[in-house]
Amino acid sequence: MIRVVLPAHLRTLARVAGEVKVDVDGPATLRSVLDALEADYPMLRGTIRDHVTQQRRAFVRFFACEQDLSHEPVDTPLPDAVVAGAEPFMVVGAMAGG
């Protein structure tokens, strides 16, 4: 069970409050967590990563355990603390503006 923190606008879109929890088949990676998240909440498809290329949207970041995982290969295993449920995987709307 992976804990996922979504930014406020995506929580509203997914109609959830607080963290969500997703089950991942096999190793927990960026790709498998996002696959599970989109399977549970189809309205999030296309809002975090592109439908076709699966590229992360430019103003979205992935944080966990005080690390920026945004530029890691998508099949990189997530930190043990995230896999163990001790820490959440965070989808973050990047700060932008003045």
Partner: protein
């Protein structure tokens, strides 16, 4: 008594304004989708409680919302807008080839008889259609695939297909307008397209009379006389009497012929409305006076409508999709500003009053007249 429902898209959410046929007291609902840009929302002529909304964000991209109860509740629909085939390139601002990239939906046009069919005009300019109520979207590739497509260039606001007009009396006839390519018409339900820009003259392009490349801001027609089209171009107000085959200028005595919206009175096909804006680099009304101009002669002769509108220190803009008319008698006219006001006239423009004054910048205004 009839009701009026005004659908307002803003930079930070959607608002639904409702009133009875007197159009004096208004209920305001919203923000719906607070914090998101709502480029457009529009109701189905076949089922007025079926609404579609384009919700977008620089962070999270495009979302399509649908309501089946007139905007009280909403359901998230499909947002997979994928260009048909290998998209290829168009021209970028600097004249170099640039890949087609989907950015957002500018305009949603529900079909007249089927609530599940809706067209979407998108940036980078293309036309999509859904026939399952917005769950899935298919490009009509003949539009973007027109032989001129690889030479289209964006206007300052992006290369957007912003206007879709479904001709009510010629099934299969569709007009679209693209900034900055111009008007195109299909007579076969969107399969093939022809540019319809003869008579336009744009000084900002290498060949001012080119077949394609004009920055058309908006076109409108009256359903009782669909071969007559009116256009607000970047500069110039234009008219066509032959379904777009040729255009002539009808700017006449307007104080400036730059502007964005244009619309037609619900019952008088020769009565049209524009909001003159100072210039292409000064997007506010001349002299700080917000004036709607009305022609009762199909153009050329214009009168300023000022009663109830600010006549000093007003420097807002009215965007291309932010004007609409109701179907009551007298005809109601509505427009929204980048300053967050939505004005209404219940007497065809003779007098105006704000419905709301402090919304986020208004991007679009649509009106539904309900039984």
């Amino acid at each position: 008594m009839s009701q009026v429902r005004v659908l307002v898209g803003t930079r930070k959410g959607a608002f639904v304004l409702t009133s009875d046929g007197r159009r004096e007291r208004w209920d305001v609902s919203g923000p719906h989708f607070g914090g998101w840009e709502i480029y457009h929302l529009k109701g189905s002529p076949a089922d007025p409680n079926r609404l579609y909304a384009s919700q977008s964000s620089s962070w999270f991209g495009q979302v399509i919302q649908r309501s089946s109860d007139g905007g009280q509740t909403w359901e998230t629909m499909g947002n997979k807008f994928v260009y048909d085939g290998v998209p290829g390139t168009h021209l970028w601002y600097d004249g170099t080839p640039h890949p087609w990239e989907f950015a957002r939906v500018w305009h949603l046009e529900p079909a007249p008889t089927d609530p599940d069919t809706v067209y979407a005009g998108v940036e980078d300019a293309a036309l999509f259609r859904s026939t399952d109520g917005g769950q899935t979207w298919q490009e009509l590739p003949g539009m973007r695939g027109h032989e001129s497509g690889r030479f289209w260039q964006p206007g300052a606001g992006g290369m957007c297909l912003h206007t879709i007009v479904l001709d009510p009396s010629h099934p299969g006839r569709i007009f679209v307008a693209i900034s900055a390519a111009g008007v195109f018409r299909s007579d076969d339900a969107g399969t093939t397209w022809r540019p319809m820009n003869r008579g336009l003259k744009s000084d900002g392009i290498p060949d001012p009379s080119a077949e394609v490349g004009h920055c058309v801001h908006r076109i409108a027609l009256h359903r009782a006389r669909p071969d007559v089209l009116f256009m607000q171009k970047h500069w110039d107000v234009m008219r066509s009497d032959d379904a777009g085959a040729s255009w002539r200028e009808v700017s006449g005595n307007l104080p400036t012929d730059f502007g964005f919206p244009i619309d037609v009175h619900a019952h008088e096909p020769d009565t049209i409305y524009v909001v003159p804006i100072t210039s292409d680099s000064e997007h506010y009304p001349p002299d700080g006076k917000l004036r709607v101009y009305r022609s009762r002669t199909g153009g050329q002769e214009w009168e300023a409508l000022t009663r109830g509108l600010p006549q000093r220190d007003c420097y807002v803009n009215v965007l291309r999709d932010a004007m609409a008319v109701d179907a009551l008698d007298p005809c109601g006219v509505y427009f929204g500003t980048t300053g967050g006001q939505v004005y209404r006239s219940a007497d065809a423009g003779d007098s105006w009053a704000p419905i709301v004054q402090h919304l986020p910048a208004v991007v679009s205004v649509e009106v539904q007249t309900l039984p």
